[in-house]
Symmetry: C5
């Protein structure tokens, strides 16, 4: 999985019915310091994440393992809201 920062939302016209009920988030993949590693990934969400949240995104077929995204054509899903990051034994991030 990767750390990601939710930057916004994507509204679209989706003709595939199972996919169409899902909210699409725009996220940047980041490191533990918040530096952007890969911008503009579009992810589904099973955590009710909002813009600005630091999250964990799972990719590939793993994105369809949660019940809520099962059978839906997603390759990226927000699977966790980050509460705390600990690096080298020190807390480096705490959710506001």
């Amino acid at each position: 999985m990767k750390l990601a920062r939710v930057t916004g939302t994507v509204t679209g016209t989706v003709k595939d019915i199972p996919f169409s009920a899902q909210k699409m988030l725009l996220v940047d993949i980041v490191d533990a310091d918040g530096n952007v590693l890969e911008p503009a990934v579009v992810a589904l969400d099973v955590c009710s994440a909002g813009t600005g949240d630091l999250v964990v995104v799972t990719m590939g077929s793993a994105a369809r393992l949660p019940n809520q995204t099962s059978g839906i054509g997603t390759d990226a899903t927000v699977i966790a809201l980050v509460d705390e990051l600990t690096v080298g034994g020190k807390s480096v991030y705490n959710a506001p």
Copy 2:
């Protein structure tokens, strides 16, 4: 998934029968500002996208989850036409 701009089409000789009925689009993976992140991805399409459209492309096995691409050897499918992008609470793109 990734944002992508449709740049053109690929016409080819395909010997695998399920694949051969599909239209292949040429797309550039882009960020929310339209900067190209990865050029020249070939994708199938379940949204009737056209050249110039901003779309969402799903990759890997997810590309075969829509009914229209089920069982077809694609690793990239246009799953949505982007109507609006919102970044940091502001609308940064609206489909023409």
Copy 3:
């Protein structure tokens, strides 16, 4: 999928029986202008492609969807010979 130029062939000793009957092509992933994006991908082939041909390569589990590669441990298969590329409404490549 990705555009690719066939550059050569790989001859090898393969102990996995289903794989061993397959011809391995060496291809460079390219953009619509022929610039190399990723060199030296080894792909199976269901299109009888030859050195110099511009082709479409499908990757990941999609590479095993064609009948000819079903059950074979490939992660890249040439699924189409490119006849024509159209970018921005203009033809930019025609197969010789």
Copy 4:
């Protein structure tokens, strides 16, 4: 798979029940000399790895092959603790 150094842990709010019982590690993908190739991968763990350990991470659907992660939406799992690396016939790393 890739070599990785465990750098820390991620604590999060996970709403997908099978995933929620798992500990998330933060790891950097490294080469045999310890140079970071890709920072900040979030991985599950079937080896009781700790911060500072050199490990092997398996990615994609392989991350769900171990019994402990079966059916859980992970795309990266620590599958081995590295005891020794041998490069060109010489031992270049031994676990402390």
Copy 5:
């Protein structure tokens, strides 16, 4: 698949039983001239490859298609020993 040069071996403590019987090779992904494209991939092996060998590595779920790696959590397996590379009709590599 990708060309790779076997550089060494990884010895580890593996708690997942099906995986634990496997030898892990350290390989560098290379191009046809031997230039390193991606260092330090850890792969299983169904070809009895040794350090220095030029091999073909298959990645993702394809790595589990050979009988010997079926059901094992690998995302990279050496599927062939390269005997000869031919580029542009000329032989550029022959196994010693």
